[in-house]
Amino acid sequence: MEEQKNAAIELRNITKTFGKVVANKNVSLCVNRGEILSILGENGSGKTTLMNMISGIYFPDEGQIFIDGKEAIIASPKDAFDYKIGMIHQHFKLVDVFSATENIVLGFEEEGGYNIRRSAERILAISEQYGFHLDPMKKVYEMSVSEKQMVEIIKVLYRGADILILDEPTAVLTPQETRNLFDILRRMREDGKAIVIITHKLHEVLSLSDRVSVLRKGEYIGTVETAKTNEAELTEMMVGKKVSLNIERSEPENPKERLVVRNVNCRDRNGVQILKDVSFTARSGEILGIAGIAGSGQRELLEAIAGLQALQSGEIFYYDPETGEESNLRDKTPLQIRDMGVRLSFVPEDRLGMGLVGNMDITDNMMLRSYRSGKSVFVKRKPPRDLAQHIIEQLDVVTPSVNTPVRRLSGGNVQKVLVGREIAASPTVLMAAYPVRGLDINSSYLIYNLLNRQKKAGVAVIFVGEDLDVLLELCDRIMVIGSGKITGMVDGRTATKEQIGLLMTKTDGGETHE
């Protein structure tokens, strides 16, 4: 193999297990200098574990790592750094009150000691070389997500890394920011750096990388050259069988106003305004998508409707599907909303921290919604157990038994339990926040189908999503939220990604996300 000669980093037969779970099994791959390699795989396929072994966070149970042809033992992040390996994690590790420069030099011993001005100059030089737009003196708390990411990337470059690993770098970026990041990565490639990018977005793989290595359930499936492959082949490698990636979108039938949100304002605990004058209508029999950069107020908006977030001002009207009666949900607790006969189901973003109780079994989690029924002081476990059985059968939940704590289930199965319970309440309004985050392709499509079935049954579905491709395929209308304001409402059938991307960063004030 001619690759071996100039491979910057090569893995041979790497195996890593956690308890009974095999995270990586006999994985072998290599990255050359001047190349971008994508590691593609569904969630739980072991991509991050593999990269954590290169960056010294985990140590492989078996197998070897070679750097420039020599065997390397990477037992700590410090060792990885000595080998000039830099990892950019999905979750940033920055000190908010420090400037970019301070964060970059933090913990790094330089010759000549600490000199912030000289460091800032070096940072500017690096920025210019690769095309970052960053003010070295800007404080992290004033930065947008993409700027924080740049700080993380410059941090590893500053320390001389020439093997860069990026873990799902585009998950938090808008399409424009993603394109900008890709330009930077291409420039680094020209500079001779070896770049590994972990992702599960196929179109990014195709547009950016030179080669793709695919992992499935911890096993190495193969490496292909990007130029010689296509989406269908990659999906098949990733999932193990052919998958049709189409979402059936029916025309809304007889849409009627179900939920009307009018001029809602609200602030968080620190007094920061998170929703600004939000107004919209959700109709029965249609899926309303909500797009926006993570943390733009999506969570607060859904929580406000569910009675979990106090409003400063504004109204939330609900129209009963049978009588057409109008009721105001403002300042009502979740319990009061239910007592008013409003069948509102909510699949929150934080599944185990809010939607479910991780340490309880499936039965007790089913009971969360229904335990109050009846006058008895004791809980009845029979009906929820039956419901749990039903959901396990209907949605193919993989679990040892109904008595297994839900935190032991995989992400997709946890979500099936949660969505199953919320749909079992036969809702008239169904809100779902990032319902497919962390799910594999099959589970994701199962969830889309469930939402579509609810739509056909006349439910007003509100879907907060992050993948614009999915939003455009699934939703009838897409509302875009930016910094707590509604910046646009587009038709899901005619809008483009670029159009939504622009709306996501648009704010009517001075501050804009670059």
Partner: protein, 368 residues
């Protein structure tokens, strides 16, 4: 890289759930290991024969009928306080103020006995004692709960501080009610008339105490496992966000649970003052408010297991006292032994949850 690096010798990994018998096997091994270490320590420090020491410990707990009664009574008292703190801990409310809540209940009982003993008909007196002791314990517990529920104050510090207030209040009233005046001791209350003393059933002084605690154990088991309120406690304890999401009034649950927890502590105070000591001192609770936390955690908040864990701890205490007197050892020695045993038992939980993997030192060689 010229420097030769070595891979780590071992690492720690989380285990899957163990079979119940395997986890109990680990616990039994831990106790056995603890006894061996204790034996070594005994030989090294005192030169006594460790087997003889263990036999004495056993005799200290089970040697005579009287000792067995005293053992069971002490288990009942510790168990009672443990039952009281359990709902709070299950709710992740770090109530370390059981000591004060017990004293508050005991002080209320003593006050009734001193002020109304020999004056009220005994039924009315008992009723008054039960009500005031529950109320006193509940008030002591609900004050921190109220502040926590409304303003998120730190309940650990708050309940701890409430202990000192209770202890000083007892000191104060010990002085006021001391017999004879100025002696600083209350002495046995109503010794001649036995007014307000817990009646002895069938001639056994402690039987009623034990029955009350047995009843409470069953009540708490059913309450936590099968009642709607018990379910709410679990949900709030696991995740306040989930509780709010499903419409549970978190404040209400915190306050209600602490009222219950405090009231049971108050009952423990009643049983100690009226059923056991017939007096009150600063030491009436005797550290049970703290030991109870260990009992509750070791039993994983299961009231039935708590019978076992409180037995274990009381047995160790009794045995330790016996050996320190028989062998003329410093009483601290028995504390050393108790400490070693508890250390091993708590340490065994680590091995139940985690496993240690040793790396094969020859690299590249696959181990089957």
């Amino acid at each position: 890289m010229s420097k030769k690096k070595h891979e780590p010798k071992f690492h720690i990994a989380k285990r899957d759930a163990l079979d119940w018998w395997k986890s109990w096997l680990i616990r039994i091994c831990a106790v056995a290991a603890a006894l061996i270490v204790c034996a070594l320590v005994t030989v090294v420090l005192t030169g006594e024969n460790p087997i003889g020491v263990y036999v004495k410990m056993f005799e200290g707990a089970f040697g005579t009928k009287r000792r067995i009664w005293s053992l069971v009574q002490n288990i009942a008292m510790l168990l009672c306080v443990s039952l009281a703190v359990t709902p709070a801990f299950k709710m992740r409310f770090w109530n370390i103020g059981a000591e004060g809540q017990v004293l508050a209940g005991g002080l209320a009982t003593a006050a009734c006995m001193i002020l109304f003993g020999n004056k009220l008909p005994s039924v009315a007196l008992y009723a008054l004692m039960i009500i005031t002791s529950c109320l006193a314990g509940a008030v002591w517990a609900v004050i921190p709960a109220f502040f926590r529920a409304n303003w998120k104050t730190n309940e650990t510090l708050f309940t701890l501080m409430m202990n000192y207030i209770a202890i000083q209040l007892v000191s104060y009233f010990t002085y006021i009610w001391s017999v004879p005046k100025g002696s600083g001791q209350i002495g046995v209350i109503n010794q001649s008339t036995r007014s307000g003393w817990m009646p002895s059933l069938g001639g056994y002084d402690y039987l009623l105490n034990i029955l009350v605690v047995a009843g409470l154990t069953v009540f708490m088991f059913v309450y936590l496992r099968s009642s709607k309120q018990g379910y709410e406690i679990s949900v709030v304890g696991e995740s306040e966000n989930t509780a709010r999401y499903v419409g549970i009034d978190v404040k209400k649950v915190i306050i209600r649970t602490m009222l219950l927890s405090g009231a049971i502590c108050g009952i423990a105070g009643l049983l100690l003052v009226s059923g056991t000591d017939h007096t009150i001192t600063r030491d009436t609770a005797a550290g049970r408010g703290f030991t109870a936390i260990m009992v509750s955690w070791l039993a994983k908040f299961n009231p039935l297991y708590m019978v076992l864990t409180s037995f274990l701890i009381v047995f160790l205490q009794k045995g330790a006292i016996e050996i320190s007197t028989t062998f003329g050892l410093n009483s601290s020695f028995s504390d050393i032994l108790t400490g070693i045993i508890i250390f091993f038992i708590i340490g065994s939980e680590f091995f139940i949850n985690y496993t240690i993997k040793v790396h094969n030192s020859k690299k590249g060689e696959k181990e089957s």
